[in-house]
């Protein structure tokens, strides 16, 4: 076996165009990576050791790190402790460029960094950062102006497992953000796995036992401490089901006003932890129809794309799987019940099959219907695609092309990947995918994170369509974003729903502001909000194509 002497990115990937990219009349995205100055190349450490976290990296975040109203970008490195390869923070300038502000930011540490969650843990109006790691976790307090301070030790947050996705949410509705970290496998790096050809290969999830997620209750500030958390995993009931967790989504999923948790598990049934309103959770995934796809097979559940795909006012879930499986679309209805509608929604027969990881839902083409984008990349070697030529020799056999499913209305999909060469024409070992409107133009943009490759920012340039953007904040809590708020926008006979939540997809934190594509509507009639504390308010309508900021107590009680 030859152990690579360099990092997996030491030879920078080539950016030359690939042979099979076909021009399309109406590309929805423009690759602005170079134009905005985003020069991040992922380093996962020396290849050839088949250290399993390398094949599952990694994440990034789109959030306003310095409070200037513009989304900034955090991208994680996984080269390991003492590698000297630190994470990178890019602050957006007023001109829409990204400036590398990593040095001195407090975020530029090395390690086996895996995933990101963003949330304001101390209600000071500045979003804080939680980074999951293989064998650790780091909590960084936002000190303002793009500077962060490591408060992991004083916060009481400990996680020695292989952390994957994480989410901030207020499960006890006390006004402070709590934290859930989804852990993956109890990985033993000494176990030598081989591929079907008998050569060394990354292990699969079935080789090792699963783990439990960790739930941390926010106790508020302690003596001289910004914030203190208590590990309440066991008493909350989350310790009863060990599984290889990868994705997480936190929101009220059964209509009782209390936030629940959807956890996607690799090769085992998903968990739907229903909040019992007393500090405990109960897994009801089976009877609520979202544990397994229709065929009863436990697929490799990874990224989560949340959206109301059929316009019935309820959130549905698209979950990505391996290339030889089928991604699954669970439609909600009635409230709290899910059904595998992948076939009926025509999401099965896609242009090509890939192993999907990060997945997001948004109205990319401005027609008022929520589309799906997801990134692909294999976990085991297969014949190299011609579109992977730019990658290093090690990662080429793992690369696949990304995909976009267009919602043709009422929740049926059409794979438009062939016609979207900018986003889908390039092969990558796609893992993280974050969603956010980085230029605040009302069109959802995409940030792609690929193993051993350049992170890429895709600006949405799709023509047409009207929109409404909503930011939900609470001035009494430092003006922080109220994660978990459910927002409904009504225009004419249609109502769109979204939840303000940055944690979805895979290992990433997206823009938490709900952004609604409302198609041809030039105005909206009203906005209804269900706040995280369960209270509801209605806000008046207005003209489309604007961002609005809503706060509790400023609307009408319905």
């Amino acid at each position: 076996m030859v152990i690579g002497t360099g990092g997996c990115n030491r030879a920078p990937p080539s950016d030359k165009p690939t042979a099979k990219i076909r021009p399309a009349a109406a590309d929805w995205f423009e690759d602005v990576t170079d134009a905005v100055g985003l020069n991040f190349i992922h380093d996962c450490g020396p290849t050839g050791t088949y250290f399993m976290p390398q094949s599952m990296y990694g994440g990034g975040a789109m959030f306003d790190a310095d409070g200037d109203g513009r989304l900034d970008i955090l991208l994680l490195q996984g080269a390991g402790p003492n590698s000297g390869v630190g994470n990178r923070l890019y602050l957006q300038t007023p001109e829409g460029k990204f400036r590398d502000a990593s040095a001195g930011s407090g975020l530029d540490f090395d390690g086996w960094n895996v995933g990101v969650a963003i949330g304001d843990i101390d209600n000071d109006g500045r979003p804080d950062v939680l980074i999951t790691q293989y064998g650790g976790v780091r909590l960084l307090h936002n000190e303002g102006s793009g500077k962060f301070r490591d408060i992991t030790a004083e916060s009481g947050i400990v996680n020695t497992q292989w952390g994957a996705s994480a989410a901030f949410f207020d499960y006890d509705r006390d006004g402070r953000l709590d934290l859930v970290i989804v852990n993956y496998l109890d990985y033993d790096k000494s176990w030598p796995c081989n591929g079907t050809d008998g050569k060394r290969e990354f292990c699969g999830p079935r080789t090792f036992p699963g783990t439990i997620p960790r739930l941390f209750h926010n106790l508020g500030p302690g003596a001289g401490k910004v914030v203190q958390f208590a590990d309440v995993t066991v008493q909350a009931g989350l310790a009863t089901k060990a599984a290889p967790g990868l994705g997480v989504y936190a929101a009220d999923l059964n209509g009782d006003g209390w936030p629940d948790l959807l956890v996607t598990n690799d090769g085992t049934p998903n968990h739907l932890w229903i909040n019992q309103k007393d500090g405990t959770f109960k897994n009801e995934a089976m009877s609520r129809g979202i544990a397994l796809p229709d065929n009863g097979m436990p697929y490799a559940n990874m990224g989560i794309a949340v959206g109301d795909y059929n316009g019935d006012g309820l959130s549905d879930f698209f979950v990505t799987h391996l290339g030889n499986e089928t991604h699954t679309l669970w439609q909600q209805g009635p409230v709290g019940q899910f059904r595998d509608r992948t076939q009926e929604m025509k999401a099965v027969r896609t242009a090509w099959r890939g192993t999907g990881f990060g997945a997001v839902a948004a109205d990319f083409d401005g027609d008022g219907w929520v589309d799906i984008a997801y990134v692909n990349g294999r976990v085991h070697r297969a014949p190299t695609l011609p579109e992977a030529e730019h990658l290093s020799a090690f990662w080429k056999p793992y690369a696949e092309r990304n995909q976009i499913l267009r919602n043709t209305g009422s929740g049926q999909f059409q794979d438009v990947s062939e016609a979207q060469p900018v986003f889908c024409g390039r092969a990558n070992v796609g893992r993280g995918l974050a969603l956010g409107d980085f230029d605040n133009d009302g069109k959802p943009d995409l940030l792609v994170f690929s193993v051993g490759d350049r992170a890429r920012l895709y600006r949405n340039v799709a023509p047409g369509g009207h929109w409404v953007g909503v930011r939900v904040t609470d001035p009494t809590r430092g003006g922080r974003d109220l994660l978990g708020t459910e927002v409904r926008v009504t225009a004419g006979s249609r109502t769109w729903i979204q939840v303000a939540q940055s944690a979805h997809s895979y290992l990433c934190a997206s823009d938490s502001r709900p952004l609604f594509g409302i198609g041809g509507a030039t105005a909206y009639d009203r906005i209804e909000v269900a706040w995280p504390d369960g209270k509801r308010e209605v806000f008046p309508g207005g003209a489309s194509n604007h961002w609005v900021v809503l706060s509790p107590g400023t609307g009408k009680v319905p």
Binding site: D186, N194, M297, Q343, R349
Partner: protein, 456 residues
Amino acid sequence: MRPRTVIAVTLVALIVAVAPGYFFMRGDLGIDGHPEPPLVPAELTDPAARKLIEEYRQRVLANPANSSAWGELGMAFDAHYESTPAKDCYRQAMRLDATDARWPYLLANTLDRGGGDEIEEAVRLFRRVVDITSASQTHRTVAILSLADLLTELGRGEEATPLYEQAYTTDPANPWAAYRMGVALSNRGETDRASRILLGLAPSSFARRKSAIAMAELSRRAGKVKDAEGFDYAAGLLPPDDSWANPFTAPFHELRRGRRALMDRYAKQEAAQSYRTAVQTATALADQYPSVETQLILLRALVNVKEYPAAVAVADDILRGEDGKRLVTAHSFLGLARLGMADRAEAEGRKGETKRLLTQAAESLGESVRLKTDFAPGYMYRAKALLRLGELTEAEKVARAGISCRPEEWEGYLILADVLAAAGRKPEAIRTAEQAVKLAHPNEPRPRQALEALKK
């Protein structure tokens, strides 16, 4: 002859002379006007798989007009994920015998898996199989269900629904047909009939889990929360369902050879807790494809069936190499095997031997946690060994380390409770055992039994 006739005759003669060469060059024509069977692809490197396909290839060469020989060669390719030559072989088999339902079915099945532009051909072929009257009823039912599933995937549910009903009416004992019918009825709100059908599938290894899930959903939708939770629990305990019984594809399993086939078989046997047969598979793997990984698999299989002396021999073999010394699981399985041997020695009254084995077990398990500091099984079993050696202070420390790694595992608390009880700290032991009861599922009797024993 007239000049035009001369030209025509010359052209015909040229074609006759050149054509065999052309077809020879393309490799399309073999003997007796039949095409040459596809070669084993160079990328398929596994010797066992290559050998099997070559055997079936020779059968075609020996009898190129035999449709079964062609179809079976297709299956040999198909069983090793070589779909392109498999499709060619199925097509040739169909040309030679249009009445054999196997070949259009298997071709359709391969096209279905591949997707893309060929999917409509798969639909046509499945329909063709349904219409082949010489096929048995079982075969035709499976073809109907495969067609219906494909149409559903293609979003053509209105075409699929009558086919499911046809399959169920014809063969209500077929679990595939019954499950699809039950779900269809559930979707239509015909709850009672759906329940009867789905509950009837509880004993079926093909559909017990799926039907339990469907019943859980149906119950929750009907507002029967307690029933839903019961089905929920049952579905969580059941192993994955077997693939639908399919007489067309069943012979594939016999044809699979090589490392990948053995690895898949081992994983399946282990998941089904068929540990005895898993040892046979693991032995074949280690013999035919010797590597540290296959040796570790064999070691695990031997420990699972309590073949401890054999496990120790394999572990010693692995640990002889420098690479082997770094393997956490080699040390931990060796420790487990020695613990098992200590049990036997103790049962036979060999006290000195028991102590020696327990000491060795504790050492091996200690090495496993030295290599992987969060390796909970290593801590837990080491604590057990230390407890039996009477080293209670160290046993408590180790047990607590195991709990800190996996606080969700009730077994860890039970081991700690045993250590505390042995140290005469009964109230602490009871509190610890109570924690184990809290963590274990209500249907798990061991923590409760241990707690009751402590309270006496």
